[in-house]
Symmetry: C2
Subunit: 625 residues, 2 copies
Amino acid sequence: MGRVLRVNLSEGRVRIEDLPSEDVLRKWVGGRGLGVYYMLKEVNPRVDPLSPENKAIVATGPLTGVTGIPSSGRWCSVTKSPLTNTIHDSHSGGKFGPELKFAGFDMVIVEGASEKPVYLWIYDGKAELRDAKHLWGKDTHSTTDMIREELAPVVGSDEAREIKVACIGPAGENLVRIACIINDKNRAAGRGGHGAVWGSKKLKAIAVRGHMKPRVANEERLEEVALKSMDIIKKSPVTSQTLPKYGTAALVNVINAHGIFPTRNFRTGVFPEASMISGERIADEIMDWKMAEEEVCWGCEIKCARYTRLVKPPFTGEGGGPEYETVWALGADTGTSDLYAVTKANYLCNELGLDTISMGATIATLMELVSLGKVPKEKLRGLKVEWGNGEALVELTWRTAYRSGIGDDLAEGAARLAKKYGAPEIAMVVRNQELPAYDPRGAQGHGLAYATSNRGGCHLRAYMIAPEVIGIPQLLNRFETKGKAAWVKEFQDVFAALDSLVVCKFVSFAYWADVLAEQLSAVTGWNVTADEFRKIGERIYNAERVFNILAFGDGEEYDTLPKRLLEEPMPEGPAKGHVVKLSEMLPEYYSVRGWVRGRPTRAKLEELDLKWLADRLEKEGLLPA
Amino acid sequence: MGRVLRVNLSEGRVRIEDLPSEDVLRKWVGGRGLGVYYMLKEVNPRVDPLSPENKAIVATGPLTGVTGIPSSGRWCSVTKSPLTNTIHDSHSGGKFGPELKFAGFDMVIVEGASEKPVYLWIYDGKAELRDAKHLWGKDTHSTTDMIREELAPVVGSDEAREIKVACIGPAGENLVRIACIINDKNRAAGRGGHGAVWGSKKLKAIAVRGHMKPRVANEERLEEVALKSMDIIKKSPVTSQTLPKYGTAALVNVINAHGIFPTRNFRTGVFPEASMISGERIADEIMDWKMAEEEVCWGCEIKCARYTRLVKPPFTGEGGGPEYETVWALGADTGTSDLYAVTKANYLCNELGLDTISMGATIATLMELVSLGKVPKEKLRGLKVEWGNGEALVELTWRTAYRSGIGDDLAEGAARLAKKYGAPEIAMVVRNQELPAYDPRGAQGHGLAYATSNRGGCHLRAYMIAPEVIGIPQLLNRFETKGKAAWVKEFQDVFAALDSLVVCKFVSFAYWADVLAEQLSAVTGWNVTADEFRKIGERIYNAERVFNILAFGDGEEYDTLPKRLLEEPMPEGPAKGHVVKLSEMLPEYYSVRGWVRGRPTRAKLEELDLKWLADRLEKEGLLPA
């Protein structure tokens, strides 16, 4: 049986408890799924996300840190988001996740709030809260180094560098709604402002080190599926060639060529200077391949990690990244083709603890607000907040983390920013979360995925770009709406289960539910079929929706997109003339989901063993008739 | 009789009391002098400057805000400095000083420390402490705006913009030892880390507004001396032409032409690109004359204020400055000729609350440390900390204010930085305070002034550049050492008295002790002669030295200069081959001062009516035999 570390910050106590019964585990698995389960059981969905009543869950899954399972070096944070007010999970790579498991814990549940800054130290099955007064205010890199240094006497100075640290930067401390949690210095549980939740609890960091081995029920079966999995990954050109060579930013030129590379806050889908911020240019010009090798996630053979070095002023530095989403958000979305400025802002996001997607998109929103004359001049203190000004990226990143000047408004995210300055419609968000790097006017299914994402604007609930653009597992007509609903549901469900394993979504370019179910079976000893695996995902997706319904009345009115995507045809390029025909897809989506006006029916919930959630909805008058 | 506002932050109480008796006032006058008097009476000189036992004094002088007295729009902060451990006064212009007087107070004495952030609101003779939780973390511009906004209902919204605010930025909050106090958004009580003292007391700001009129004993006599003073100012080319036209940075080309413009941390005195950061270029290229008019200090006719605007990326913005010392420290001293980067860093110093001289000089120190291979590479995170890199200025300013990464070391100032990285000798400091913009190897008297400055490296205790370079009141041979001691003493004494009036030192380019004594007499009704005026200054200078002796055993061993200035001949230019021949001047200086080994004798102290200080020194065994 696995173990849960429960940390009550209000009382300053840690307690070890067992994972739920196997029956519950088989329904929720781990990671995202189990996180949602705990949140529904223990947290009032209407709670203020930044209050002590919210909880911050740090979870691994059954596959985390299991040798032989490809790309299982991840972990997941689950909480109610201060950006979206939804249930929210955010995932990250690096080495922290496996280390948490090696230290003896599957999950950490942080509740309450401390009066004074603390950090949690977990070491070979034991845990303690430690004073973090001296760490408060420190950036994520300094925090990591300082923790390693002060714990060196405990673990031995040779081993100190093996301590893995997840922490928040100044942005999280300052309750910036787009603050992330950074682990291993350059890895981010980025989206949804989880860093602000830690900040509200005065939880600066979690440091882990351990020597235990994850449980595996059937070693033989594991070996078999491991070999098979790795074989598929090595045969997939995406996972064996494109990602290792060019990283995620390999997508820049591909997506731009399809005319759906959102440019200047989604005003167009074509960025003429895309090649300046492409994965190819990164690889050719600024990669430090030796350092990148060290950045690779635990046990990963795909190795998409980037580590770069800028040696040409005015923007210099070194660090992890940039990823595809980052060069898009800080680059094309702000009209900036200066790879150096973009990468520099990326470094700062990592150090200060900011989500690069939301940061870039929020800056882009400000740039559009300024271009529309909506922002009083004195607010900007002469900073040239104009499309393409790399300095603005760098300065506004600083300002956001510290809520300095206009940064105080940027810290609230694009939706609240645009609303404050009188143009809410230009915030390119779903459920207040900034949309990522694909303009759905040229990928209809992806548009449906955005609109129905239950953690807000997101490409990781359902990555319809795979079938609609890349052709995995097959190429669909991206401008077609019919039939996309079922695809979106399949992605949402399988990804929800995958996120509960916990493994990297990049394996989904190589294999799908059947292989994942086999992996899960080998490690747990269960016999999970691909269909049961899908069902697990569907259960999770529905449970999350229920959380949101209870939280703020989620439903059809939130399953929408910014006006720009629904009403303004793409002005140029290969997707010219298209809008997202959401109204053609939503009814079909609700139908395949068994939902009514964006809400699950009792029948659907009971089919998923979620009668208790149907009862809760009914009690609050939120169950559809 | 004037009034003192005593604010006890530990108790959260304010109390109004009278100024000391006229007898005491005539000895100490106001501002700096009276500040030192209170500090000696009330504060143990050995106290930790950042402890509640230190006090922070905000003072005007008898001439502050008196209509007709030229350049009387200043105020002065007195405290024990966390940078130098000496008694320290720091002065600032703008409009805050007169407003404090119009609000009914000559002086504010802040003692103790608050548990929670507060600000002090002074309005027409009344005062209260107000919660500043929402202001904590805010930059100085936001703080000013927010205070004005929240007090608008009190003073009326038309008058809210007339509220004058002195405050600290994040640097002060973070106890940065080179943090300043900023008033009127762009004016700094810059040197000595007074901002950190406020930060340690959790005093975010002092806001003032008033409608009272300063006392004037003899209106007729005032009118007479006012006309006379103004006449002299209008006849002086420095105060009537150079300063209004080119600001203080008019000095750049002059000082560089003399080969004493310290370049790359004083490695040479010639900066070939000086004209790029000159007052002329500022005036031609980035001045906003209309805004500069608003920035002029209360009642000043010299109008040296700069307000500039940068519209060319990568460095854009607008704000007050840059001054001569700033373009030097952030420019030549770091080898940077990029006026835009320098000015941008200046804006950030103002907003974040950092002393531009110390900031630039500390960055220059880091650059030299890096060039010497003293700083581990990973400390810099790839930032190109190299002579001339403008980005480094900007980024390191942010990092210093927030103690992020290497900024945590920069925040300690040049002396502690250089010591930490194993090269204390390269810190260009006196008593741990960074030297300003004149290389004394080509101005011997100025070197003596640095060495004997009792607030640490400073050009404002004795500005020997006036006689040694500018020729005011007469041109001295700058390479000569003989006779300079008396000049330095004269400057130190007159400036100490002038700092107690409180007026701007720029009037000293036009008139001297006689006129100042007349001004003081007109306002107070005393009959102060030029000699009495000098004596007041001498008393203050000696009292300050006594404070320092009691604080850390100040004396001859501290009256020195960095090795570079004493032993390394200037390598090039008009001052080539020279070092500072301090040992030739110091004995003469001690002799004219009546000091022995850097400490006043009983005879000298008694001559200055400071028997009580002689007694204190004797009691502690610190009185020279």
